[in-house]
C-alpha cells in the first residue's frame, strides 16, 4: 500500500522539477518594472533605511514599483535572490560569501559599514568573562550558523583553543530581536547580535565576553548586493542606487542628527532620534563603503571548509562602481 501511495507523489515531484526552468537574461534597459529591496532589522541597515526614507529612488524611477522588505536573516534574503523574488539584498558577509562560492552570481554594490559585534553574557552569569569560561552546555544565540558572528567566533576559537568548532554545539540559531527576549527569559546564556541589540543587552546589565574585531580586525558588517545579471540589465538603476547609498553614508558621517531623524521616522517615532544618534555614532560603529576583511574572512572560511574556493582578489566580489577598492 505505502509504496503504491508514494508513487504518484514521486511522479508529481518529477513533473514539478521539469517545470522549473533556469533564469533568463533579457537585454539592458533603464529601470526594472518592479524591484524588491530586502534588508534586516538593526542599525547595520541604516544606510538603506535612509535611502528608503528619502524616497529619491522612487522619484527618479517613477515607472518602477518598489517593494521594501525587512527579513530577519541574511539566508532568507539570499534564498529570495536565488528564487528571483528579491533583486537588491543586504546582509552580512558570511551568507554573502557562501552564496558567492556556491554560484548565486551576485556581487557587492557597496558595503555599508564596519561594526564590532559583541558577544554579551547575561547579567547573572558573572563567571563567564571570556571565551574560555563558556561552559560546555551554555547556549550562544546567533542569527544563523553561517553568520559573520559564527565565523568570527570560530576564528577566535581556532586562535585561542586550536579548534574552530569548539563552540559549534553551543550555537542556537535565533533572530536578533528574539535573542534579546531569550536572554531576558534566561533561555540563552550568551547572545552575539549586532547594534543596537548588543547595546540594549549591555544596558540591561549584560557584559561583553568577545568582540568580532578580535577575529579579523576591522571588518565590513553589512553590504548591499545584487546579481550580475540584474546589474548588467539595469546599469543606470544600480549606479543610481550606489550614488544614493553614497549620499546616505555621507549623511550618517557628517550629519548624524538628520540621519537619526530619518531613522526615527522609519520606526514611526517609536524609537527617538536621540537614541538613534547615540547608536549611529557609537564607538564600535563606522560608516564606510570600502570593503574590509572580505578576503581574510573568505580564506578562513575556506580553511575550515565553509567555502570551496576563495576570491583571488576583491574585484571578484565587486561590481564596477567599487573600482577594486578594499580587501
Amino acid at each position: 500500500m505505502s509504496l503504491r501511495r508514494l508513487l504518484p507523489t514521486v511522479l508529481a515531484l518529477a513533473g514539478l522539477a521539469l517545470l522549473a526552468s533556469p533564469l533568463r537574461a533579457p537585454a539592458a534597459s533603464d529601470a526594472p518594472q518592479s524591484v524588491t529591496i530586502a534588508y534586516q532589522p538593526g542599525i547595520g541597515y541604516s544606510t538603506l533605511i535612509i535611502v528608503r526614507q528619502l524616497g529619491l529612488l522612487e522619484k527618479r524611477f517613477p515607472g518602477t514599483r518598489f517593494d521594501w522588505k525587512v527579513l530577519t536573516n541574511g539566508d532568507a534574503i539570499r534564498d529570495g535572490i536565488i528564487a528571483g523574488q528579491i533583486q537588491i539584498g543586504a546582509g552580512g558577509n558570511g551568507p554573502f560569501l557562501i552564496g558567492w562560492d556556491r554560484g548565486v552570481g551576485y556581487k557587492l554594490i557597496a558595503p555599508m559599514n564596519v561594526m564590532n559585534l559583541w558577544m554579551v553574557a547575561r547579567a547573572d552569569e558573572p563567571n563567564i568573562k571570556s571565551l574560555k569560561d563558556i561552559p560546555p552546555n551554555a547556549k550562544i544565540g546567533m542569527p544563523s550558523p553561517d553568520a559573520v558572528q559564527a565565523i568570527s567566533l570560530r576564528k577566535a576559537a581556532e586562535d585561542q583553543f586550536g579548534d574552530p568548532h569548539k563552540f559549534d554545539n553551543n550555537i542556537v540559531a535565533i533572530q536578533h530581536p528574539l535573542g534579546v527576549q531569550a536572554m531576558a527569559a534566561k533561555q540563552l546564556e550568551l547572545h552575539m547580535s549586532s547594534p543596537p541589540f548588543q547595546q540594549q543587552e549591555v544596558e540591561a546589565g549584560g557584559h561583553v565576553v568577545f568582540r568580532s574585531f578580535v577575529a579579523f580586525g576591522r571588518s565590513t558588517f553589512n553590504s548591499v548586493y545584487t546579481t550580475e545579471i540584474f546589474a548588467k540589465q539595469y546599469p543606470t538603476f544600480v549606479r543610481y542606487l550606489y550614488a544614493q547609498l553614497h549620499d546616505a553614508t555621507s549623511m550618517l558621517k557628517s550629519n548624524p542628527d538628520q540621519a537619526a531623524e530619518l531613522l526615527s521616522r522609519d520606526t514611526d517615532g517609536k524609537t527617538s532620534a536621540a537614541k538613534f544618534k547615540g547608536w549611529i555614532t557609537a564607538r564600535d560603529v563606522s560608516w564606510d563603503m570600502t570593503p574590509h576583511a572580505f578576503l581574510r574572512t573568505a580564506a578562513f572560511m575556506k580553511e575550515i571548509g565553509m567555502l570551496n574556493k576563495v576570491p583571488a582578489n576583491i574585484r571578484e566580489l565587486e561590481l564596477p562602481m567599487l573600482k577594486g577598492a578594499g580587501d
Binding site: 500500500m1 505505502s2 503504491r4 539566508d75 550558523p145 540559531a173 535565533i174
Partner: protein, 265 residues
C-alpha cells in the same frame, strides 16, 4: 488502487524498484542534460554522494537518531495520555464529556502551531519538540481507542462483566485486545502526525551540533546552500517513513490480520 492487468508477471517489489529506477534516471537526465543550476536541483548522484559523505562521518545517523528520540519520547507520552483519556471515557460520563471537549478543542489545532508557546514554556530545547509531538499524537490515539472500545461486541463485554472483570483488568484483559485494530489505526495515525510534526518543529528552531535532528540537518544545509544535502535529508525522511509504514504492516499481519480481525490490506 487501479485494476492493473497483469501483463507483467513480476513481483510487486521488482515492479516498484523498476519504477523508482526509471524516475531516478529521468531526474538524473533532467539535471545533466537540462543544465539546471546545481544550486537549485541536485542530481540523484550528487544526493547519493552527499548522503554517503554524511553517513561516513556519522552526521546523518546522529541527526536521524536525534529526530527518532524526540519522536519516540513524544509519541510514548502522547499515546499513554491518549489511552488514559479513552479508558476514562469508557468508564464514566465525565470522562466521555472530557474526551469530547478536549478533542473538539485540540484536534483541529495543528500542534506545530503550539511550538512558539512551547518555546516560551520549555525554552530552546528538545523538550519543546517532544511536547508538540505528544500533543500531535494524543488525539488520534484517544479518538481511535475510544472508538475501538465503543464498537466492541456487546456479547463479549457482557461475558467479561459476568466473569466479574472490572476496571483495569477489564481494560487489559478484554477491551484492549478486542479494540486492537482501532488502536493500531490510532497509533498509525499518531505516527503520521508525529513524524510530520517533529520534522517541522526541528525546521523552525534548531540547536546546532549534538542535539540537531533531521529538520535541523536540512535547514543547516540550506544555510550553507548545500542543495544536495537538503535532498539527502529529504530522502532519509522518506525512507524512514516507508520503513515505519512497513513495520506497522508487519505488526498488523502478525496480530489483527492473523486473528481475523482485519482483512489483509
Amino acid at each position: 488502487m487501479a485494476r492493473v492487468r497483469r501483463t507483467l508477471r513480476l513481483p510487486a517489489v521488482v515492479r516498484y524498484a523498476l519504477l523508482v529506477a526509471v524516475i531516478l534516471a529521468i531526474w538524473q537526465a533532467y539535471v545533466t542534460l537540462g543544465h539546471v543550476p546545481s544550486l537549485l536541483v541536485a542530481s540523484p548522484l550528487d544526493v547519493a554522494r552527499a548522503a554517503w559523505t554524511d553517513l561516513k562521518d556519522g552526521h546523518l545517523e546522529l541527526a536521524t537518531y536525534n529526530t527518532l528520540v524526540n519522536l519516540v519520547a513524544g509519541m510514548l507520552i502522547g499515546t499513554l495520555i491518549g489511552f488514559a483519556l479513552a479508558s476514562f471515557a469508557v468508564f464514566s460520563r465525565t470522562g466521555q464529556d472530557l474526551l469530547t471537549v478536549l478533542t473538539a478543542v485540540f484536534n483541529p489545532l495543528p500542534s506545530i502551531a503550539i511550538l512558539p508557546l512551547a518555546m516560551i514554556w520549555f525554552g530552546l530545547q528538545p523538550k519543546s519538540i517532544v511536547f508538540v509531538v505528544a500533543l500531535a499524537t494524543i488525539w488520534p490515539v484517544a479518538l481511535n481507542t475510544d472508538n475501538g472500545f465503543r464498537t466492541i461486541n456487546q456479547t463479549t463485554q457482557l461475558a467479561a462483566r459476568n466473569l466479574g472483570l472490572r476496571g483495569w483488568r477489564l481494560v487489559t484483559g478484554v477491551l484492549l485486545p478486542a479494540a486492537l485494530p482501532s488502536i493500531v489505526t490510532g497509533v498509525k495515525a499518531a505516527w503520521a502526525f508525529g513524524w510530520r510534526t517533529v520534522v517541522a518543529a526541528e525546521l523552525i528552531f534548531g540547536v546546532a551540533g549534538s542535539a540537531g535532528g533531521l529538520g535541523w540537518y536540512i535547514n543547516n544545509a540550506r544555510y550553507y546552500l548545500n542543495t544536495s544535502n537538503i535532498f539527502a535529508g529529504l530522502v532519509v525522511i522518506s525512507v524512514l517513513g516507508i520503513l515505519v509504514e512497513g513495520l506497522f504492516g508487519f505488526i498488523e499481519r502478525r496480530t489483527v490480520v492473523k486473528w481475523g480481525m482485519k482483512r489483509a490490506g
